[in-house]
């Protein structure tokens, strides 16, 4: 009830115009699609895949958010898969408890603090730059919080475990003999993964990817703290509309648009990778 009612109110208000207080419920307060149309107004130049086209500014922010979220999901998958594999195959059950605690302890600290920690680490005169200069990897400080770099680093860190745990649980259910059978029949390391382990872990991979993608795209804290002046996340746009412009009606419309478009992206990706909904549940 506490979840559904506000959402219904949100849907309702998204179809009403943003009016001064004394005009609410007045003659101009009628249902309209104007709030949704605003999403497609104000075109600006947008360079994407080497083409320069005019795209409405908010659509442009939305597309960048989705693209960077996919990018973050891909990075997390690339790091998380070997990590989960290592956890299943190498770590003995007695050490597993310790390993799990080490992994989950950072989760006990609030997301704000963790993002601030990264803010400190990545700052221009911060410890990361100092360390890299000390060991001679770089000669002068690097501005890490630039463009979307900070956001990507922050999101990868924050949502890594949402990929590792589903992957780990699906890998654990794989019969070890299957891996050995593949090798016995001549499969190389790489082909064993590609033909046997990855297909088996598909449900884990899919649910991890969906979770990480939705969380990254919907993240507000990380982009706010680790974003630079020239990075924009769609959630920040909604926040500006609602809390700074106090235009709750357009904010509501954008939230709904964001939710449905992100869902659409997930469905489209699942279709593209031939994943069925039932693959996730079993």
């Amino acid at each position: 009830m506490l979840i559904i009612l506000p959402n219904i109110a949100l849907i309702e208000s998204s179809f009403r115009p943003y009016l001064p207080l004394n005009e609410i419920d007045g003659p101009r307060d009628s249902y309209t699609l104007a709030n949704y149309q605003r999403f497609l107004s104000t075109p600006v130049g947008f360079d994407i895949f080497g083409m320069s086209i005019d795209v409405p500014i908010h659509l442009r922010i939305f597309i960048t958010t989705v693209l960077y979220s996919i990018f973050v999901t891909a990075i997390i998958l690339i790091i998380g898969y070997p990590a989960a594999y290592y956890m299943t195959k190498t770590i003995s059950p007695s050490n597993m408890a310790i390993f799990f605690i080490v992994l989950t302890v950072p989760m006990w600290v609030s997301e704000i603090l963790r993002s601030f920690a990264w803010f400190t680490i990545l700052s221009f005169k911060g410890p990361l730059n100092a360390l890299l200069i000390e060991i001679g990897v770089i000669n002068s400080e690097v501005r890490w919080i630039r463009g979307y770099y900070g956001i990507i680093i922050g999101l990868v860190y924050t949502y890594m475990l949402f990929m590792v745990f589903p992957l780990y649980s699906s890998m654990q259910s794989l019969d070890k003999n299957q891996i050995e059978a593949a090798q016995d029949l001549g499969a190389s390391w790489w082909r064993t993964h590609w033909r046997v382990i990855v297909p088996h872990c598909k449900p884990g991979i899919v649910s991890g990817c969906v979770m990480v993608f939705m969380l990254s795209a919907g993240s507000l804290l990380v982009p706010s703290l680790l974003g630079s002046p020239n990075s924009l996340w769609f959630t920040q746009t909604i926040q500006q509309l609602m809390l700074e412009a106090l235009d709750w009606n357009t904010g509501a419309a954008y939230s709904l648009l964001f939710l449905s478009l992100c869902t659409f992206v997930v469905v489209a990706m699942m279709w593209a990778f031939k994943v069925k909904l039932s693959d996730i549940t079993n």
Binding site: D175, N177, Q178, E180, A181, A182, Q183, D184, L185, G186, A187, S188, R191, R195, V196, P199, H200
Partner: protein, 386 residues
């Protein structure tokens, strides 16, 4: 089972194996002073063994005796701590499982559940980058060989236990291995299917000419299928011989007791002459064959239940006085339990037709056995001490 003409040329390597005298040992496996330790646990101790090409060789032993370790060392999943393994005369040290000419059939089969039957069978060929159309054709041929025509496009989960067994065999044969390693693959099947698959495995082995190394703890399986059987216990080879030899002339008490039922008389060796020894025990003096070296005085006489006869009169020397107690019906024969005055239990196998003529359990009877069919071995008890 039908063997179509094209399924014969599935095994060109096997045919060349027997036809080409230059390379007679392609499928041979030699283990030389092999040891394998896991931490302080000694799974295999200084084991030497030669398995000939084209042989159906069984390794028989109780669970935990190290037989699976041997298999895993041959297939390349474990490296021996010491010693040399040769397959086809070639030292396989440093070769991983995917580079060895062996195929392993797992106890749980380990078929790939997300692939179709034909993809399972053709997996090895796919790994060797054989084109898809050829893979499909070969999978069909192999499925014909194992009598599973028409199952190509089914999923593994749609097959019965026996059918999965055949898919596993076809999958292992697809890579044309010189050596097939089978890790108790029949243990999950019910008795009837198990007996059927035994015959099937044996006939596939005969037709392909591939060396089969079969691991089991089921002595009847080993005896029924093998050219030679190796009996193992606690990481050591106790005896390697053809099945009848293992059964009729075991080299130790463990082998005698592990392979088939047997009666034991522990006693003192009083004399040996002309290959026969006499044992003295509380039951009297009895004579039996001595074909393995016996040292010391403490010996045991073994005689199989089917070599013991029951009669009301004492006949000859090898007789034991007892009373019959229980009869257990075993289908084609019956096992009769006889107990001596000392409480020593003997098992006697009799024909079912004789059951009616057996003496009642109130009268004393005599158990007889032929000295040719009983054998004397060193007592196990003494072996344990030394």
């Amino acid at each position: 089972m039908r063997v179509s003409s094209h399924s014969r040329n599935l095994v060109p390597q096997a045919i060349s194996n027997s036809a080409d005298p230059e390379k007679p040992s392609e499928g041979s496996v030699e283990l030389e002073h092999v040891s394998c330790r896991f931490g302080s646990f000694r799974a295999i101790e200084d084991l030497s063994l030669t398995i000939r090409a084209g042989e159906f060789f069984s390794i028989l032993g109780p669970s935990g005796c190290g037989k699976t370790t041997i298999l895993r060392m041959i297939s390349g999943f474990i490296d021996p701590s010491a010693g040399t393994i040769r397959i086809g005369g070639e030292d396989v040290r440093g070769k991983r499982a995917n580079q060895r000419p062996t195929s392993l059939i797992f106890q749980n089969l380990a078929l790939f559940p997300l692939m179709r039957v034909w993809e399972n069978v053709a997996f090895g060929l796919e790994m060797r980058r054989v084109p898809r159309s050829i893979r499909r054709k070969r999978a069909e041929e192999l499925l014909t060989l194992v009598d599973l025509v028409g199952a190509e496009d089914k999923m593994v989960s749609q097959l019965s236990g026996g059918q999965r067994q055949r898919v596993a065999i076809a999958r292992a044969l697809a890579v044309e291995p010189s050596v097939m390693l089978l890790d108790e693959p029949l243990s999950a099947l019910d008795l009837k299917l198990r007996q059927h698959m035994r015959a099937e495995l044996r006939s596939i082995q005969k037709r392909t000419g591939v060396t089969f190394i079969y691991i089991t703890h089921d002595q009847s399986e080993a005896l029924a299928m093998s050219d030679r059987v190796a009996v193992m216990n606690k990481g050591r080879m106790l005896q390697v011989a053809p099945p009848h030899e293992i059964y009729h002339n075991p080299s130790s008490g463990f082998v005698a007791k592990f392979v088939g039922e047997t009666n034991v008389i522990e006693g003192k060796l009083v004399r040996i002459a002309d290959g026969f020894g006499t044992v003295e025990s509380p039951l009297g003096q009895h004579r039996a064959r001595v074909s393995h070296n016996v040292q010391g005085e403490s010996v045991a006489l073994y005689v199989r239940p089917e070599h013991v006869d029951v009669s009301r009169q004492r006949q000859g020397d090898n007789a034991i006085e007892a009373r019959l107690q229980d009869v257990s019906f075993e289908g084609s024969f019956a096992l009769v339990k006889a107990v001596t005055a000392h409480g020593h239990v003997f098992l006697v196998a009799t024909d079912n037709n004789d059951l009616q003529r057996l003496p009642s359990n109130t009268e004393n009877v005599y158990l007889h056995f032929d000295e040719q069919q009983a054998f004397l071995l060193q007592s196990d008890r003494e072996q344990c001490i030394t």
